[in-house]
Symmetry: D2
Subunit: 455 residues, 4 copies
């Protein structure tokens, strides 16, 4: 029992073509899904009266035996198997003989592979969702632990306004929360059974598609057989999800890479997430973070690869669609490791509150000083100018803003009074931002409570 086709052919496949064409080198990963799908299909064939109960039992038993062989790693991909469907059917034939040749009745590899891929992805999404939740939970926990830590907030990587470290950290919670929403939404579009679509026109032998879907745990069946065999939207959506999620992790990584430089010194990675240099004995490099950053590029490549494959493809199944598997498998594997590593990095991160406190510079309070003038009745746009001038003056004098004498301030505007110096309190500046979503301690506490409620 060789290929699934060949009666019409008078010569074998070219050897380079065989390697070019074969997907078994990667789609063997679908083995469990493929066998599960076939077991359900055997039931459908019996239900449709196409095989006997006995034949079905033989098929199921044989498929379970094949499953066991795969499970214990006995299978090794071989080129002649072409793809996982052929590999399973070939082995089934070796085990149970002629009955195996009835399994594919009315089925096409087109609806089969679509079913396999959806089963595979549905399972993987479960694990990824859990990993995402774990990372979110760790973020919340670390945010709660460090509610008292002040740090400079940055825009354009220049000091902007003081923040709670926890507020910064929680910003990633919400990015991941959107990622989780998107994952849940796309899962509904993965959860559709294409089996029974045949090659393109639909099954002609009366298999019960609803029963098939139910057996395989799918919530819905596909509505159109042409679409069913060529729909790869769910793969594209998943790759987009992965790319955007990893983009979030890349931003987290970038922050932490910069902050773990000796010049910033705000955080240290646990050693277990750093590696050394082969040449420089002192090195402890944040490789974990750099990989989290770099993988966002890799996943973007996966996404682009698939979308470029799909673009302009004629309707229904074309062989180009085989190119969906490798980016999908790569994205699943990458995200699995990335989410796990990110969670552990955050869980074990050492936060240097003192270094953060020392980094707080007076410029962080310039907005508060402008607000001070607003309270004195100065229009904001004017108060912004006046404080800007004060900042410039202090800089020219080489002193901190709070060290600028009152006379200097008043030379700029007589709206400045001696109480202006009360502004120079980082903690107070933080607590003033007490709107929902702001950095004040109570606002962050409320944020954390909200976060817990969506976990």
């Amino acid at each position: 029992m060789g290929k699934m086709w060949g009666g019409r052919f008078s010569k074998p496949t070219d050897s380079a073509m065989e390697r070019f064409n074969a997907s078994i080198g990667f789609d063997w990963q679908l083995w469990a899904a493929d066998i599960r799908g076939s077991i359900a299909y055997a039931a459908a064939l019996e239900r449709a009266g196409l095989i006997s109960a006995q034949e079905r039992a033989a098929l199921v038993e044989g498929l379970q035996a094949v499953y066991a062989e795969f499970e214990c790693g006995a299978y090794e991909p071989r080129l002649a198997d072409e793809d996982i469907h052929t590999a399973v059917e070939r082995r089934l034939g070796e085990l149970i003989g002629e009955t195996a040749r009835k399994l594919h009745t009315g089925r096409s590899r087109n609806d089969q592979v679509a079913t396999d891929t959806r089963l595979y992805l549905r399972d993987k999404i479960g694990a990824l969702r859990a990993a995402l939740l774990a990372l979110q939970a760790t973020i919340v926990q670390r945010a709660e632990e460090h509610l008292d830590v002040l740090m400079p907030g940055y825009t354009h990587l220049q000091q902007a306004q003081p923040l709670l470290f926890s507020h910064w950290l929680m910003s990633y919670f919400w990015m991941l929360q959107r990622d989780r929403e998107r994952l849940d939404e796309l899962t509904r579009r993965v959860d559709v059974c294409p089996l029974g679509a045949g090659a393109v026109a639909g099954n002609a032998l009366g298999v019960d598609r609803a029963a098939l879907a139910a057996d395989l745990g799918f919530s819905r069946i596909s509505e159109n057989s042409v679409d069913a065999v060529s729909d790869r939207d769910y793969v594209a959506e998943f790759l987009f999800w992965a790319t955007l999620t990893q983009t979030h992790l890349s931003r987290l990584a970038e922050d932490l890479i910069i902050w773990s430089s000796v010049e910033f010194g705000f955080v240290s990675l646990d050693e277990a997430f750093t590696t050394g240099s082969s040449l420089m004995p002192q090195k402890r490099n944040p490789d974990s973070l750099e990989l989290l950053r770099g993988k966002a590029g890799r996943l973007l490549g996966d996404l682009v690869g698939l979308l470029a494959v799909l673009k302009g493809l004629p309707s229904a199944y074309d062989k180009d669609l085989q190119e969906d598997k490798e980016p999908l498998f790569d994205a699943v594997e990458t995200m699995t490791l990335s989410l796990a590593v990110a969670e552990r990095v955050i869980r074990t991160l050492r936060v240097h509150a003192e270094a953060m406190a020392q980094a707080l510079a007076d410029g962080l309070l310039a907005t508060d000083l402008a607000d001070y003038l607003v309270r004195k009745g100065v229009a904001f746009r004017r108060s912004h100018e006046l404080v800007g001038m004060a900042v410039r003056r202090a800089e020219a004098l080489g002193i901190r803003l709070r060290e600028l004498p009152l006379t200097e301030f008043q030379a700029i505007s007589d709206a400045f009074g001696p109480d202006l110096y009360d502004v120079f309190d980082f903690r107070h500046a933080v607590e003033r931002r007490d709107v929902p979503g702001g950095t004040a301690t109570d606002a962050v506490r409320a944020q954390i409570a909200q976060a817990k409620s969506v976990l």
Copy 2:
């Protein structure tokens, strides 16, 4: 009244830098959203006791005057305006004087532009959703009109099995249906008000964020100010939506480009959607379809551009984020035209049923012949081989499969009987595929009914 900043600066911006930096050349498109946001913000300032009722009235009146000027096209972008926020505030100052300088109290361009962009996109999505629905409705209508048309179904662009033309056409309905689902889902993430997030740390002057959101018609407020000013997920999601939707249109276009070749001759575009050649007088080219196909590449470029910008960006606002606007505006404009053109092309498409019928070749029934053998008790994998051999034999003889004499068939297998010739009925082959989602007339009717129910 010039820039929104400058007190701290001792020299002007470099001229090349000014052009490099300015976004007014494109972000003027946000004018309506920007003014709308400012009117709401004026109300928030009054509510917070930061301006008087009179001042608020002056601001609102002034903003409405600026709105009117923009609406009648009186505004022309000028480099010195830097961005739309500056342009509006500058003009407001010219119209109402000093009070204008209070408008920006406690607000940053960071939360302002995020608000503007969301307001802009929310509006555009409304129109795009309607355009998508219109295209879906036209597909359903054309599918209903042509329920009697048979055509070859293709996989790998080789004839596979006969299909109803309507079944093929409906396959695009379901792709677009997923696009509509995705659009609805992402809209919920656009519909979030970031105003009050300030530059990064949250508003310090007690503006009522819930009221602001309500005034602007947003369902929710952002939960974290750091995230609020740097979140561009909704732009990325929209660009992905646009790319995938256009990818569907590109596949539709590819089918129709091939089918409108003189060699296929299955369809003709209405002349109004073709153009001629400057050199070749006979030409009537399907430019509309080719552009629908090409635009999928363009949109993929937009998507990649944004994701590459976001990757590895430090937290909160960085100027790189300004690069989100042009791909967004381009995608909105492209999708608006694409959906309109696609709808009109389908609405006016001429379907050549006779040419389709003539193209039906006997190979399309080979699967049915294999099924015939299955009904005779031959295992499917064997029946596939036998029919393959028959196909090969007919080809060798240079005749159609149905012209192969019974003796020839029986030389291949004695399971063939004289009733085999009953298989050669394209209509019958179509009607056999009567599972849900299959190409049988009743199944397509049910599909159309289902489609109408989701419209």
Copy 3:
């Protein structure tokens, strides 16, 4: 002997981190290059007086032994090896003991991996260049064989003007010629030796970089150590080369996929480059061509992945750079198979001259008819209009253009005379396009001669 670093570390690497970090799963492919580089480096150490001649001999012998083990497939990647450099050094230590610990003196994995990758790629480029040449040669040969075959030329997939089949085929020769030029050019930038750049600052032990480069067959040494360890331009260039080359193959594939449809019927693939269907016994699908088309998307993904990784990376070596390997290896493998398959597909392609001839429609001669009017003194823009009207008239009457009676022609313009019918000669139309680069037989012959001269 474990990792190459660790003295400074007090705890082991986290298990998930270890898997995330290790590159041995793919960079083992660099084994030959790595060992070759180390043999040269041992010589450099001796030359610099850092090891004795005896030590060098031990190192070289040991490295050759390791090479032999890899060559016969004895090595299996293991996670603990981290990367190929560690794997080789570990095994070397097992074989020759303490002296192995001197090999890395003054070297860093940063300059080592850059050297390995360049050695690897330089070798692969040699093979790819030969494959490109072979494909070009086959194109020329097939073009020569079919110089007498006429076919419709298309623009917008609509019949445009008649062409020689050979002229169409030769168009791909020139695309591939540009690909070869680009490959040669980028090779000069691959051919640069970074060894001796150390981790970032340059070698401090006086190794002779020129001698190292010479030993490894490099033409030049890198000019700056910071650049040397982080330069991945040559990988990006190679990926761009691969993407553009494959894009050319994708266009060739698209033409042939359409032409091998039964509706066109212009060409047939040799069976050895087609595959069958698991369900439909009649199928012979052009999978080879579809994969050639799809792989262009895949390679674009590889290119984007790398460029997105590089974008915005801090200077010198960052771990993100490890993400260069997999797209590079994938592109090398993909191009190797693609070029081989493309060459064989073209070599064995069956060309159906009769079907092409039958497809020639009169519209293809409309430009020639306009030229006829130009010769009669009608301005071209007017003659274009007049012929357009004639085409429309013939279409309305449901007849071929040449069947339109003279009276009808003259009703459109009296510039038409009875000699207009001489225009209707496809061969003549082809021969009129006799400018260099045109489709006339002599021009194509000249083109082929030119092609041979650049091979």
Copy 4:
């Protein structure tokens, strides 16, 4: 005089289609090239005896008048013009009447637009090449000025080994040098004249292509008319060049953004290349650098857009190719500004040598300490371990490495002697790296001399 086609059409273009189809909104940028090409084509027509000398003179004079109108900005794009070719021919007809209708004889917009685009790009490349050179020259000049400045060298953004600031800066010179090489190489492939290729099959009226090329200053003519009208390789190559060049600028920008943070404080941008905040008066943001970084993403989008358009396109001209213009124009404009801004930023950059000196930490010398042990006869791999242990010990004691007492060192290994402390000299460590391409002053001087020789 309206469209260039229409005789064959019985109804006007649909209004949405007209907007979708028209390229005049962007391709008006080709006006100068288009007119220049037409002037040369008029000469070719006369040469071929298709028009009289008088007619040619009228055409040329008319085209010059149109040129003058465009030059002074009198032309405004209008939808009905469809594209720049139509716009110019329309206006020419208005000015000189009937003779204008002879200009397009034997020419197609397919070869015309290919010619225009190549002329346009050739001109732009000249300016971009000059801008690249200017940036390189400025880098060399600044490197020469700061040859005495020491700074920490980084890998993984962790301190690695000391560097000369000039050495770091020169690393960008070499990246840009490769960019210049690539630009020169691709220019040779832009410099090819497609005019005379007609629509697809070549010119049938005997125009002298060599003379046309010479008139337009092209070095070569295209070898195949099918390829000539659909070749967009030179656009793709240019976009790749732009993307990779900007990727280099993005890395430069990333370095400088981090170094201009207050925490690093190594450099300051001139104020003219920073901008302020609308809310925070103290801010001076490095927007110029952030845009340089972000634009690398934008350009990658342009590149992907084009490559995805080209992939799988049928041979010869398809309307999809119109999508090449906008990314090309965008890339030209972006690179023009980016290179100018980058040059000015570097020219005016303030370098804080003292801050760099203060940042030098002892870990930077750990490699030198390991080399010290090597000189004492310890195998490098062992010396690396021993120094790693010393680093760990110093860290545990909370002291600098040079503060670790000799007894502590000797507790780790008795190979350490009192002369070990001589290693702690940053300048010396720099000067030890004196191989070609190393950071020693003399090596950098040699590098600068080499750089000057390639300028």
